[in-house]
């Protein structure tokens, strides 16, 4: 059954998934986790990027204000009772803040349901990292078996891997051929981000329709820009870009484009190999210890292939992995003559007037600079 995913709330959706299909629901913190494995266990995932806005409870006070809003808002949300619809939480060890959040919840309480952690290795490409990742995935599968009372069916895992490969392929198509997509930024990102909580088969369906709707010739007439950063929040920022006459031609948001797997080879016969390779197939991310040079090369090639005329670096305050790379990104694009604008957010619900003005001025500058003399 397909719901009107654009209007139903996440919690209502999770409840209906439970009622109709008996699916458990797991809240998942950013960024990388084995979604295929969860799908194979018939677990609905609901990603928790904050949520944005002011913390919804006093529990945010358990974490200092100089720690990123994702961790503070998440603990407040989980402890406030607003996440009652989920049956547990999975916290990947993405950064110090999320590691601290996991330790707080597991050791000192505030969340009565199950806490899983996923400790993915740093050091992409190393044999030791691959071996550890596979062991970590198997260990998580063991915990999920115990939690759900179900044995992991290897065929079901193979099916889940294939399903998510199709999803990734559609997401890649929409992002790589952005100029052919008639959706505006707010619509496109709402669609892509519904993948954070829709049951994958339903998400695949709406992605397929969106890909079918691609125009034969470019329909995006604005200024193409590239965005790198953490999360496309608030959505007002996307609307401001549209209003200013720009569109995101190259996406390196950790929540969106950076996570899209582009696996060159066919699916491996062994699903565990497939799961491991899936992790290494995504774009370079500063949280996973890629060599800085590799990330810069990737960003440069993304800017080039997308035809971006400017780069927007959209980071979250206190997000160290992203913040450390900013000087390198500035230097990289200064060398190739592509203007860069850095915007810092803190999971606000709306962008400030100042930020909107900066975005408008930046796009106007790109338009002027790009106009043939």
């Amino acid at each position: 059954m397909t719901y009107n995913a654009g209007t139903i709330s996440r919690s209502a959706y999770a409840l209906r998934q439970r009622e109709e299909f008996g699916r458990r629901c797991l809240a998942v913190l950013p960024i990388y986790y084995p979604k295929e494995l969860l799908t194979a266990f018939d677990i609905l995932t609901m990603e928790l990027w904050g949520p944005p806005g002011a913390p919804c409870g006093d529990a945010a006070g358990r974490i200092q204000t100089y720690v990123c809003a994702v961790a503070r808002n998440a603990i407040a949300f989980l402890q406030s009772g607003k996440a009652e619809v989920v049956d547990g939480v999975l916290i990947p060890h993405t950064c110090d803040s999320l590691q601290g959040l996991a330790a707080l919840l597991m050791d000192f309480g505030g969340w009565s349901k199950k806490v899983f952690v996923f400790q993915h290795p740093r050091g992409v490409g190393r044999a030791s990292a691959k071996a550890c990742l596979e062991q970590e995935l198997r260990a998580l599968a063991g915990e999920l078996e115990e939690w759900t009372g179900k044995r992991l069916d290897p065929e079901r895992l193979t099916w889940a891997l294939a399903l998510h490969r199709k999803i990734e392929a559609y997401r890649a198509t929409l992002l790589d051929q952005r100029e052919l997509c008639p959706l505006n930024e707010v619509e496109l990102y709402a669609l892509l981000r519904r993948g954070e909580w829709l049951w994958p088969e339903e998400h695949l369906e709406e992605l397929r329709r969106a890909v079918q709707g691609l125009a034969p010739v470019p329909v995006q007439k604005g200024i193409p820009i590239m965005v790198t950063g953490y999360l496309p929040e608030p959505s007002g920022l996307l609307a401001a870009l549209t209003d200013a006459g720009a569109y995101i031609a190259g996406d390196d948001y950790a929540a969106v484009g950076r996570r899209v797997g582009r696996e060159a080879n066919g699916a491996p016969a062994d699903p565990w190999t497939g799961l491991t390779e899936r992790y290494f197939a995504v774009a370079p991310c500063p949280t996973r210890n890629v060599v800085t040079g590799n990330r810069m090369q990737y960003l440069e090639s993304l800017a080039k292939s997308s035809g971006a005329r400017g780069v927007l670096v959209h980071v979250q305050k206190f997000c160290e992995p992203e913040l450390f790379d900013i000087p390198g990104i500035r230097k990289l694009f200064a060398a190739s003559g592509i203007p860069v604008l850095v915007v810092e957010g803190e999971l606000e619900l709306a962008i400030s007037g100042q930020t909107e003005t900066r975005l408008a001025a930046f796009i106007e500058m790109l338009r002027t600079a790009g106009r043939p003399s």
Binding site: P121, R126, F318
Partner: protein, 439 residues
């Protein structure tokens, strides 16, 4: 190369005379201007302090001539440096160097230049200090040797990984990461194996960079010395269990230089034997780190390097002193984990089981044990803007230490290296109010 090596060796030997001469000159000029000041609140300075300064000065002096003479590695404080020693690496600790800049109050200027480059002020102030030194080509130690290898372990934080990635891009040298999965309760066997495999990978990279083969017998001998050094350091710290404590936790911050930077060497161990004996002598004679010790406190997290004197003076005026710190204790905890019979395996174990790579229950256990063993009646938890892994959890820890141990606990927000995050007057007010609560 030969000339460079000669300079390096000369600095290691003749440098000592130069340092002693400079110290003599400084002491002479200090004595000339000496008048009758306020009576000191502290016990007489440790005689070992001169030796400590000599050792650390010599280490940095020799470092000036290291690149081109011997392989140079820049390493993080939690890195199992013992593995690099048999391969002849001169090791430099950017954290230790940054702390020195912090104590000398050089950080605002250094950080400004890093911020102008685009590094956010929200980033770790050690990293900003290090970048600033690189950008301004300045250092209080004269010159830092360029690295041939960057060796980093994220057992203290993920920040060092981002920091060292930036260094690797700048210096265009290999970066070795020892990725240590966080330990909840007991370490998982596949995590231990992962760290062990990475250490084996490290050996081959370090061999390639140094052009030497690993001598495992020498490595075992270094592990023996390292274990002994860690044990001796623990003995030095434990002397503060006496009342009055013969030195303060703040003194301990400065005396940890050798166990961090020279671990595994005989000179490090010789130094701590000397320090231990001097501390025991002070215990025997009833000499305290402060003159009028009334209340003993526990300090959690890194120090505020720029304000150690300010804070210890404020406390000493009212008879308060830090008897122990969780930070200095971390280097004593390793002693029981190092096994010369299995240098790589035990290094993996030691590397994973440090305070910042373990869960909060373990941390609470350490704080509780320290507070009990050192007879503390209060604790100051330094909520350090630049060290999130050490700081997240402190708000809950404060509550538990208060409820479960009856300690009076203060959460004091600042930064370990950047004085711009410390408001002296409001900070002093908070500390004063905290001390008044003991009345």
């Amino acid at each position: 190369m030969i000339l460079r090596r000669l300079q390096y060796e000369m600095a290691g030997h003749a440098g000592l005379a130069l340092i002693r001469f400079q110290d003599w000159q400084k002491a002479r000029s200090r004595n000339k201007g000496k008048g009758k000041g306020k009576p000191s609140l502290f016990g007489p300075p440790l005689e070992c302090l001169g030796k400590l300064k000599e050792m650390m000065s010599l280490h940095y002096l020799q470092g000036r001539y290291a690149d081109g003479a011997v392989p140079v590695a820049w390493v993080t404080s939690g890195f199992p440096v013992e593995i690099l020693r048999p391969l002849g690496f001169h090791t430099l600790y950017p954290e230790n160097h940054a702390a020195m800049c912090g104590a000398l109050r050089l950080v605002p200027q250094l950080s400004d230049s890093a911020e102008q480059e685009g590094y956010s002020r929200d980033l770790c102030s050690y990293a900003r200090t290090d970048f600033g030194c690189g950008l301004l080509h300045t250092t209080p130690v004269g010159r830092l040797p360029k690295p041939d290898l960057l060796a980093c372990s994220n057992n203290i934080c993920q920040t060092v990984l981002y920091w060292y990635k930036a260094l690797a891009a700048h210096y265009n040298v290999p970066l070795v990461l020892i990725d240590t999965p966080f330990v909840y309760g007991e370490a998982k066997p596949h995590h231990v194996q992962y760290v062990r495999t990475q250490l084996e990978e490290l050996v081959s990279v370090a061999e390639r960079v140094s052009g030497r083969r690993m001598n495992y017998d020498e490595l075992s001998a270094i592990m023996v010395r390292s274990r002994e050094g860690s044990r001796l350091w623990g003995e030095c710290l434990a002397k503060a269990k006496a009342k009055p404590a013969p030195w303060t936790g703040i003194d301990g911050f400065f005396h940890m230089g050798p166990i961090v930077a020279l671990r595994g060497s005989e000179e490090c161990n010789a130094y701590y034997r000397m320090l231990r004996d001097e501390l025991q002598d002070r215990v025997n004679r009833g000499i305290g780190g402060i003159l009028n010790e009334k209340h003993r406190l526990l300090w959690d997290n890194l120090p505020m390097w720029f304000a150690t004197r300010e804070i210890s003076t404020l406390l000493a005026e009212r008879g308060f002193s830090f008897a122990c710190t969780s930070y200095t204790n971390a280097w004593a905890e390793a002693a029981g984990k190092i096994s010369p019979a299995d240098p790589i395996g035990s290094a993996a174990h030691a590397c994973m089981h440090i305070i910042l790579n373990q869960d909060l229950c373990n941390r609470l256990g350490i704080l509780t044990r320290l507070a009990r063993d050192y007879s503390c009646d209060g604790a100051v938890l330094h909520s350090d803007r630049s060290c999130k892994p050490y700081s997240v959890g402190q708000i809950d820890l404060k509550e538990r230490l208060t409820k479960e141990m009856g300690l009076k606990v203060l959460l004091l927000e600042s930064d370990h290296n950047d004085p711009r995050s410390w408001a002296s007057e409001p900070g002093a007010n908070r500390l004063s109010a905290f001390m008044e609560s003991f009345a």
